[in-house]
């Protein structure tokens, strides 16, 4: 048995805002943006945030593994929806990982995910590292162009790893290229060329050198070099400074995704693992108030992993968005007149949420031990008209099930941040059904019998009290093969 990376997954939201739409909107104001209007960036749907993206990346990572008994889960981000509520706790509940695991949020730096991964790789029981970021961006800011929303997840532990850690090195340096405080909604950033010349270039290569020295390898041994950096050619310059061949420098996904902040080192690692062959050596750099450098060697187990969407699959699950105003509205950057229906009170009874957490957060229903009927939610009395036995239902997870549309509509009357609100009755293939919101769906694709899968999403935002509730929604299953998914 060896310790290492046992599995990996990722999540990139389906909507891709065309950077040209941003440039077109702001070119009158900041003509410099016109030159950046190429490619597209992933944007979270209105009902996505770092928690929901982390859950999807976690599910992608655990695909096909069957029940996993984790000892720890760490969630890395600098854009947690909650400041005082364990965000990793929501993720653990949604992934139905049980309560016997240690959970932690890791944040405050773009290096949080690589540091969390490093800590997990030092040993111990099986541990899941998830990282997700959805950076708040000011309209017409450079980061609005360069950032992307996304998540990645890495499972480490004893077993048959797909990659093992050869060596790592870390340096800490209070280099402030950008910052955000509790009072400031958005990042404040210093000059890009200074970040390159005084930050990346002097700080990272020595850490790479230390890492390679520990591994007893030369820089030419690195076959894939993953370093998120928005500025063009910075990764190439750092690689060159460290002696790593230019051909090894991995694409930073800027053209198709944008930089997913804290998550991006892991997103790039996952993208590298998807393409990797046994024997490949992947170096990952996390940069933020210093640098983490991790060097992995890919094993022959890489081809034994069950299929997953990963970065490649999620990038293929794509819908172009050219409406920049929609992006502003999704992020509350403009104040739309939402109408009286949006005023409905969204208060969550926290006691009821706790009592019903398996139903609401874990999407666990029931299976009658007497007649075998599946039902959601789990209830005291069996719904089968020919059974109606009392207290016979065993917990039955529904989040991994595929259902079919039994009825549907596209509703333009009810309030939705993205009208029309599409919803309908989902009938699960093995039994059970529920009237559900749909997400990531186009009205024209709705049809009775259409297969749908479950996704963890923001259900309602209680702007009055700053709370948000999460629940599961139905999304088209067609672009994905989730067979065997946990």
């Amino acid at each position: 048995m060896t310790f290492g990376i046992l599995s990996f997954g990722a999540y990139i939201p389906r909507l891709r805002l065309q950077r040209k739409a941003i440039a077109d909107a702001h070119g009158w104001f900041n003509s410099a943006l016109k030159g950046q209007g190429k490619g597209e960036r992933a944007i979270a749907n209105w009902d996505e945030d770092p928690v929901t993206m982390a859950v999807e990346a976690g599910r992608d990572c655990l695909a096909g593994l069957g029940p996993v008994s984790l000892e720890a889960l760490t969630f890395a981000s600098t854009t947690f929806p909650f400041l005082d509520r364990l965000n990793a706790g929501v993720v653990a509940e949604a992934l139905a990982l049980g309560q016997d695991l240690a959970t932690a949020d890791a944040g405050q730096t773009q290096r949080a995910a690589t540091s969390a991964l490093l800590a997990a790789l030092r040993g111990g029981g099986p541990s899941l590292i998830v990282a997700a970021e959805k950076r708040p961006v000011k309209a017409a800011s450079p980061i609005e162009m360069t950032a992307g929303d996304g998540a990645a997840a890495i499972l480490v532990g004893e077993g048959k790893p797909v990659a093992t850690l050869l060596a790592s090195a870390t340096r800490t340096a209070d280099f402030v290229d950008h910052y955000r405080t509790p009072e400031s909604e958005y990042d404040y950033q210093w000059e890009e060329r200074w970040i390159r010349d005084a930050g990346y270039m002097p700080l990272v290569p020595p850490v790479i050198k230390a890492c390679l020295a520990k591994a007893g390898l030369g820089p030419e041994a690195v076959t894939r070099f993953c370093m998120p950096a928005v500025l063009a050619k910075v990764a190439n310059s750092v690689a060159k400074g460290a002696g790593i061949p230019d051909a090894a420098v991995a694409d930073n996904l800027h053209a198709v995704c944008g930089e997913t902040g804290t998550a991006h080192p892991l997103v790039m690692l996952v993208a590298a693992l998807e393409e990797a062959k046994p024997g490949d050596r992947i170096m990952v750099v996390g940069f933020g108030q210093g640098a983490d450098v991790l060097l992995f060697e890919v094993t022959d187990q890489i081809s034994a992993l069950a299929p997953r969407l990963g970065v490649k699959g999620h990038l293929a699950r794509r819908r172009e968005e050219t409406n920049y105003a929609k992006f502003l509205a999704f992020n509350d950057t403009v104040e739309l007149e939402r109408g009286m229906r949006a005023e409905a009170d969204k208060q969550t009874a926290l006691s009821a949420l706790w009592r019903n957490r398996h139903t609401v957060t874990s999407f666990v229903g029931g299976k009658c031990s007497k007649c075998g009927t599946l039902q959601f939610p789990k209830t005291r009395v069996c719904v089968n008209p020919n059974c109606t036995a009392i207290d016979t239902q065993e917990p039955e997870p529904f989040s991994g099930k595929i259902g079919k549309i039994n009825s549907y509509t596209a509703d333009r009357l009810t309030y939705s941040p993205d009208p029309p609100a599409c919803y309908g009755m989902i009938q699960f293939d093995e039994g059970g059904r529920w009237m559900m919101d749909f997400t990531d769906v186009d009205e024209k694709d709705l049809a009775v019998g259409h297969p749908m899968r479950m996704m963890f999403r923001v259900k309602d935002i209680d702007s009055q009290r700053g709370f948000r509730r999460y629940f599961w929604k139905a999304a088209p299953a067609a672009t994905t093969d989730l067979s065997g998914r946990a």
């Binding site: 009286m340 939610p377 719904v383 039994n406 059904r433 009775v448």
Partner: protein, 401 residues
């Protein structure tokens, strides 16, 4: 099967306010408007009423809680008064309370009044309301048209109906109601429309357009009931009596068990079967002369024709387009304009339907009167959502005792 209440209770008098956007009226004014007519029609005094039921659904938006608002509005003499609420079946529930009180002998004369003052909510449609702590966490953020629109998707899938055929039959339902509402001075909407108006109206919830949806109105309706014997003793002739009153409430099967295909109302089928049995009706298509159904949306009326066992399954489109349910057809449906055009003040709707039956059977329906005095009529309400609802059915008819 219980013996039921067939012919045990007669309607002594009824009243109905004008429905519509009654900007100058409180719920209290509407209650008094309906009650004054009912009291005059019954020919009694308030002190002769032994018990009363108030039906109102969204009480926090107008009269407030409990039965006190009815007792205060009508200055009832400290009698038992009960407030009932059962979604859109509320008006019929109030009627059921009064009828059962008389049938049991607990009251000689009982009153049922339904009222809703919706135009003070500020909403164009029904207001958005909480649904309970757990449903708020798991149910879609849906509107009433959105829930009912789904019948169309499931119905099309089941019968292979072309969307445009279903849409055309739905449009006929709305055109018919506008034709009928135009002949009813108390109706909210009295304008005639064409099939094209319906087909080209803005989409509310696919495939329901604006003209597939009923009006949201203010209004009240009232019934005073007693035994046939007392009615006779008060000088009444040509009595209209209650033949059946049934309520069926979903138990979650449609919402949670895959045995339901989503194209019909399980509750209506069950309630209708029980109601026919209670009323002694064996062949509803041959015996029922007039129907008022819960046409909250055109597609609801369409599938209800099958759920009431009047149109054969999958055949409602054809009966509707053939004019079977038109005002001059075999069994007129919504001869008063229905929810679509008379309007839908939730708590009043069930009683408004019975009011129309009562007028038609006594030949007092004015311009819209059926010449062949209907002898047996059915009213039907649906409350809630197609997959989880309350259905009430009443059958009233000319008393033959």
């Amino acid at each position: 099967m219980p013996k039921g209440i067939r012919d045990k209770v007669a309607i002594l008098g009824m009243g109905c306010s004008k429905f519509g956007e009654r900007w100058d009226m409180n719920a209290e004014d509407l209650m008094v408007e309906a009650y004054t007519e009912a009291l005059g029609d019954a020919g009694i005094e308030t002190k002769q009423i032994d018990a009363a039921w108030l039906g109102t659904a969204i009480e926090e938006q107008h009269v407030g809680k409990s039965a006190v608002p009815l007792a205060v509005a009508l200055r009832l003499p400290y009698i038992p008064v009960t407030r009932v609420e059962n979604f859109c079946a509320t008006g019929t529930e109030a009627f059921r309370g009064a009828v059962y009180a008389v049938a049991s002998g607990a009251a000689d004369i009982a009153l049922a009044l339904g009222v809703e003052k919706l135009k003070d909510t500020g909403y164009g449609g029904l207001p958005q309301r909480g649904r309970g702590t757990l449903p708020n966490m798991t149910w879609p953020n849906a509107s009433a048209p959105g829930y009912f629109a789904q019948l169309a998707a499931a119905y099309r899938a089941k019968y292979g109906s072309a969307p445009q055929d279903l849409k055309r039959a739905m449009a006929h339902v709305s055109v018919k109601s506008h034709d009928n509402g135009g002949r009813n001075p108390k109706a909210h909407l009295r304008n005639k429309i064409t099939i094209d108006t319906v087909l080209n109206s803005p989409m509310i919830a696919e495939p329901l357009g604006l003209y597939d949806c009923c009006g949201v109105s203010d209004g009240a309706a009232c019934a005073i009931v007693t035994t046939p014997e007392i009615a006779r003793s008060l000088g009444k002739r040509d009595l209209v009596s209650v033949k059946a009153l049934q309520v069926a409430v979903s138990n979650g099967t449609e919402a949670q068990h895959n045995s339901w295909d989503g194209s019909y109302f399980a509750t209506t089928r069950i309630a209708a079967t029980r109601a026919y049995q209670e009323a002694g009706v064996e062949k509803p298509r041959d015996e029922i002369n007039l129907i008022e159904v819960h046409d909250c949306f055109s597609v609801t009326e369409l599938v209800t024709m099958e759920d009431l066992h009047i149109s054969a399954e999958g055949r409602a489109i054809h009966d509707i387009l053939d004019g079977f349910y038109d005002a001059d057809g075999t069994i007129p449906c919504q001869i008063d304009g229905g929810l679509k055009c008379f309007g839908h003040p939730i708590g009043a709707s069930g009683l408004r339907m019975i009011y129309e039956m009562y007028l038609q059977m006594q030949g007092r329906a004015g311009e819209r009167q059926r010449k062949d005095l209907p002898r047996l009529g059915l009213t039907h309400n649906l409350g809630g959502f197609p997959h989880q609802n309350v259905c009430s059915i009443s059958i009233v008819g000319q008393y033959e005792g």
